[in-house]
């Protein structure tokens, strides 16, 4: 089975053809002719690795009314993702190999074809008390551990999980928020929270926890990954740690690059997300962090919710944004059209770096890599319409926004799994 992608523009190669044989990239050259190969016309399109999402919520098992593995992986494919890591806060919690295997098997049997890599829980039941069966979950296919949704507040548990997990190559992905400092906050603490009378969460809640994780990582000489960095101070802490050689990696999410707490003025609960959207100065710092390598990756934190959980009072609404199907456009719009980076740089933070963090053979287009790739038009103009999402979660604060950059086709292992 041969597939010839002709006439596209590829990162590093420029205008080139790409030949795929048996699901693996075999050649990339200026002009390839290959008899018998199925030809994909990529004229005028950008051919790039499928995006790798280190952080999403597929809600399956247990919360299928919000999303399930079928709808979630279809949405991921439409968003240009070929690998996604799903967090453990399902029902039951993914804190044991049975749940890990269920997710992997269901994704293989019923999913869109996107690779689904579960992230196991750090603690049993996400309770923050006793360590989950990390070894078992690693053996079953989990790629990391996280209590995401909640921080690991107990520093000793954090230390033990980092140490124990290292035996299985499992890094903790930490949702950094000191829950005491969060103190029931529902948006960023600042001028807008004061103006709107909504309870604010201080940025210190996030930064205190990042600082603690850095100290643990540095002391133990073990890797740590910081989820969804949202503050300028967080970026600076990580930058300094990296300079000292701390084994730290970090991600941020598209909504932190695009949205600020100004969006909360409508009291629309679709703007509620954890950590909250901050200020323009934080956006600038996050973008600078992505550009200089402080922030390794963009991860969606795709968090689908049912509309019943959003069409309520702001305090009562659940936190999270449905992010798969807007990530590419929001990032390309902000980062590339905003002249902060090239498409090649974007590929590094969206594909190459996250693939490296979970140690998978993807995230780059070169011979020998899995043929997980997408065709995209970085300039196509379209209007975000949540009603058209393949995800069950229509919760986005970006509904109605005009953007540039659209995913046209998605391939996993050389097989097309999505076409616009």
């Amino acid at each position: 089975m041969k597939l010839l992608v002709k006439g596209g523009t590829l990162p590093e190669y420029g205008r080139a053809d790409m030949l795929v044989e048996d699901g693996v990239i075999s050649r990339i050259e200026g002009n390839i002719e290959c008899e018998g190969a199925q030809v994909v016309d990529a004229e005028g399109l950008y051919v790039m690795p499928g995006m790798v999402d280190l952080h999403c919520h597929l809600r399956d098992p247990g919360q299928e009314y919000k999303e399930d593995i079928v709808s979630g992986t279809r949405a991921a494919a439409a968003g240009g993702f070929t690998s996604v890591c799903c967090m453990a806060n399902t029902t039951p919690v993914n804190d044991n190999a049975v749940v890990t295997s269920f997710i992997i098997n269901k994704a293989k049997a019923e999913g869109s074809g996107v690779h689904v890599y579960p992230v196991g829980a750090v603690s049993k039941g996400l309770k923050g008390e006793n360590m989950a069966e990390i070894g078992d979950m690693a053996k079953a296919g989990a790629v990391a551990i996280s209590d995401d949704g909640k921080p690991v507040m107990n520093a000793l548990l954090m230390r033990l999980a980092m140490e124990y997990g290292s035996a299985f190559g499992m890094t903790v992905f930490d949702h950094c928020e000191d829950s005491n400092l969060v103190n029931k906050g529902v948006m960023n603490e600042g001028y807008n929270s004061t103006l709107l009378g909504l309870r604010g969460t201080t940025r210190a809640a996030e930064e205190v926890q990042i600082a603690r994780d850095i100290v643990l990582s540095e002391t133990l000489n073990l890797p740590i990954h910081i989820c969804h960095v949202s503050t300028k101070g967080g970026v600076e802490l990580i930058r300094q740690a990296k300079k000292r050689g701390v084994k730290i990696t970090a991600e941020t999410a598209p909504h932190y690059l695009v949205g600020t707490d100004d969006l909360c003025a409508s009291y629309d609960a679709n703007t509620k997300v954890n950590p909250p959207m901050r200020l323009a100065s934080d956006q600038e710092a996050l973008i600078a962090g992505l550009c200089d390598g402080t922030i390794d990756a963009i991860a969606t934190d795709h968090a689908p919710h049912h509309r019943d959980e959003k069409e309520v009072e702001y305090n009562m609404a659940l936190s999270g944004i449905s992010g798969f199907e807007t990530a590419f456009a929001l990032c390309v719009e902000t980062l590339v059209h905003g002249h902060h980076m090239t498409m090649e740089d974007f590929v590094k933070v969206a594909c190459t770096n996250p693939a490296r963090i979970i140690k998978k053979n993807c995230g780059q287009l070169k011979p020998g890599m899995d043929a997980d790739f997408i065709l995209a038009d970085p300039n196509e103009e379209w209007c975000i319409d949540a009603r058209k999402f393949l995800s069950k979660g229509k919760n986005t604060p970006f509904h109605g926004r005009l953007v540039h950059g659209r995913v046209k086709e998605t391939y996993v292992g050389g097989a097309r799994i999505y076409k616009d």
Binding site: E311, E313, Y314
Partner: protein, 307 residues
């Protein structure tokens, strides 16, 4: 000129002319409250519902009497705060009231922004009677009405607001309203009960009551709730009272004819001493009367539209 808004959710976007219209309409309503037959036909044929998710006898009664004095059909729904999470959704409740022909829904809710959510989903006019720690616009209007009655104007006055600003919808609405009307606002609270970046709203903030009330034309106390101590915002009510309460000593720093106000209900001896609350300068009881007048005015203005 008619009142521009469908609803009254916040004083942030209400213009000076509109506030003046409400206050002057209230002034024309007030004599009725002292007359032997408290009845007008202003709201004949209108139906008004108070939808309260928090206990507040005072505010609910004030709205209810305002409606009844003007011949409206008034009904009230008292839901417990716990029913917010367990019961029917706010949107569904609103749609139900709409279908029953309600002209005005007056909502008190423990969560900020709830009236805004309701207003987006109903045809009825919505009045915010207090949402979370956000706003309580009719309280600010009645406060301004009371001040104006005594001082003749609001422009250039210095109003000191003392107490738990962080959890006070009264303070927030007063800040917005008083600024629009040209008054200056000084706030005093323990730093743990002062919202961040408050000065960017154009107020001055203090941690010493004497400094806040210095030269003030109005000194307004805010209610402190016991649970704020339990949350760790200050060590004891005794200490709170000593440093942040209004008493005869610190009131001396205000102008001699300064008005003393409190939205009620008061914790006597905590945020305000009885000597001050019952003094000649106090207009605390009068605020209650103003409340009915202002609410009558507002109901009239909101229902008059579209007729």
């Amino acid at each position: 000129m008619a009142f521009k808004h469908k609803d009254l959710l916040s004083l942030r976007d209400v213009e000076r002319e509109e506030i003046e219209m409400i206050l002057s309409t209230a002034a024309s309503m007030r004599p009725l409250l002292e007359s032997p037959t408290k009845k007008t036909a202003h709201l004949q044929g209108k139906s008004i519902v108070t939808l309260f998710y928090e206990n507040s006898t005072r505010t609910r009664m004030s709205f209810e009497l305002a409606s009844k004095y003007m011949s409206a059909a008034a009904a009230n729904i008292s839901a417990s705060a716990s029913s917010v999470a367990k019961g029917e959704t706010l949107i569904d409740t609103g749609k139900t009231l709409d279908r029953m022909g309600t002209d005005v829904i007056i909502i008190r809710h423990p969560m900020s922004g709830a009236p805004h959510l309701l207003a987006q989903h109903v045809n009825a006019a919505v009045i915010n009677a207090g949402d979370g720690v956000n706003e309580h616009p009719t309280q600010a209007l009645l406060d301004m009405f009371t001040i104006k009655r005594h001082k003749g104007h609001l422009d250039g006055l210095r109003v000191a607001i003392i107490g738990d600003v962080n959890h006070s919808r009264v303070a927030r609405s007063n800040i917005f309203g008083l600024h629009t009307m040209g008054a200056e606002v000084a706030l005093c609270a323990p730093p743990t009960l002062m919202p961040v970046q408050m000065e960017e709203l154009g107020v001055k903030t203090y941690t010493r009551v004497e400094e806040a009330v210095e030269g003030a034309d109005v000194v307004m106390g805010l209610r402190i709730q016991k649970e704020r101590q339990e949350e760790g915002n200050f060590p004891s009510l005794r200490e709170y009272s000593a440093f942040f309460g209004i008493n005869e000593e610190n009131l001396r720093y205000a102008k001699p004819d300064a008005l003393v106000m409190h939205p009620g209900p008061m914790n006597r001896g905590v945020e305000i001493t009885s000597d001050v609350a019952d003094s000649e300068q106090s207009v605390i009881n009068e605020q209650v009367t103003s409340g009915v007048a202002v609410r009558m005015a507002l109901l009239y203005l909101l229902t008059r539209k579209g007729v």
